[in-house]
Amino acid sequence: MKECREVEPLKAPYVDGEAGAGERSAVDSHLARCGRCRDEVANERAARDVLVARRAELRASAPEHLKARCAAHATHEATAVSPPRARDAATPIRPPLPIYRRWVPMSLAATLVLAIAGVFGFGLTEKSQALAFQMTIDHVKCARFAGPAGHVDAGVEEQRWAATYGWPLRVPRSKSEATPESPIRLRGLRRCVVTDGRVAHLIYDWDGQPVSVYVLPSDQLDRAAEVERFGHDAIMWSQNGRTYVVLARSNRRPEFDPVVQYVKANVY
């Protein structure tokens, strides 16, 4: 005769009809003399029956825009990496490593340098330094994950952002082809994961080089600041209840100023 604790792990396969003959017999025998377990099995079966009966309704349908984005990831990866190759059948399935352990070597090296330098190089005592550090890490990572290098519509992204995250965001307009008046092309808008989703991350293309614009929904800085760290320039300021950080590599610093001015002129 099995005790209640011995029967416990057998209840699910018993209810599901997947218990072996011996296990089923043992559970039947126990239930015949244990009213509590009998009630539990009956309740478990009732809940299971409800779920199975409502399975079709419970299965959600993913929004069309999500399907489109996922398909876009496939297309983007198809152009960026070699086609999949079959593995040895004896090799077990192994899920991919966490995203931050799988950056290509250059990104990994750069990020590790950033992280180590950030901790030991300076104390992150000032908010502008902390922002620059955090955003630069995110920029280095996400520039490679920004999806297809196409052009997306700023107005559509604004509406999607407001509807999804509940706070309005002004996205500087851009054209499908950059011009002197509009030097950057919008590639995408995402939540910045590094900052727990509270920050909007606009990703632009500037002559083949990524430019990030981060928008925080609060005033974080008493005064504007420019921070140059690890080969990247972060220009940041707070205005109208928002904090903005424009970030790109430092290799074209003089030419970067018009880009920053363009962003400043179009985020309000």
Partner: protein
């Protein structure tokens, strides 16, 4: 650009987007977070497609990535799912049998909103085990691999999760 339809891996992977989104919704309970989770899952899957062993269960592989990605998100939130589970196990042990018959429960559960709310109120580990089993129809072994726990633990979580769900719906019936 390689068209989606020319790549069986991509086409099959994308066919599971509804299931992944449903599971992500149950995990995160927020549509925006669920969308992010599904996107991250596909991004990782496509980048790691060479690691997938052809002929094995692609759906289970994708759900495993989804689960791992969610755990990483949780770690960034500073919460520890193990602590939640331990607490929930203690709570589950205190459940008392409901006075409602299974037939009454089935009648009550005709409302999707009630059922969804009851599901969402389950502790995470139990919610996920029950969902993967009863809605997504995975085997115990597949769930054990996804959640990286012993198969006995999976069976126990499914069983306890279903009973908790029953009690939640029974209470909703009283409240209603």
């Amino acid at each position: 650009v390689r068209p989606e339809g020319d790549d069986p891996f991509t086409a099959e992977a994308l066919s599971y987007v509804d299931g992944l989104y449903g599971a992500a919704l149950r995990l995160t309970r927020r549509p925006a977070d669920a969308e992010d989770l599904v996107q991250d899952t596909y991004l990782k899957a496509f980048r790691s497609s060479s690691q997938f062993e052809r002929g094995t269960n692609l759906k289970a592989w994708l759900f495993t990535i989804l689960h791992n990605t969610f755990l990483n998100m949780r770690r960034h939130d500073g919460r520890n799912p193990v602590d939640v589970d331990s607490e929930a196990v203690e709570q589950a042990a205190d459940l008392r049998p409901s006075q409602h018959t299974p037939e009454q429960l089935l009648t009550r559960a005709t409302l999707d909103a009630d059922l969804q709310a009851a599901l969402d109120s389950l502790p995470e580990a139990f919610r996920q085990a029950v969902w993967l089993r009863d809605v997504e129809e995975f085997s115990y072994a597949e769930i054990a691999q996804m959640m990286q726990v012993p198969i006995g633990t999976v069976m126990s979580r499914i069983s306890r999760g279903r009973r908790m769900l029953y009690e939640k719906m029974a209470k909703a019936r009283v409240a209603g």
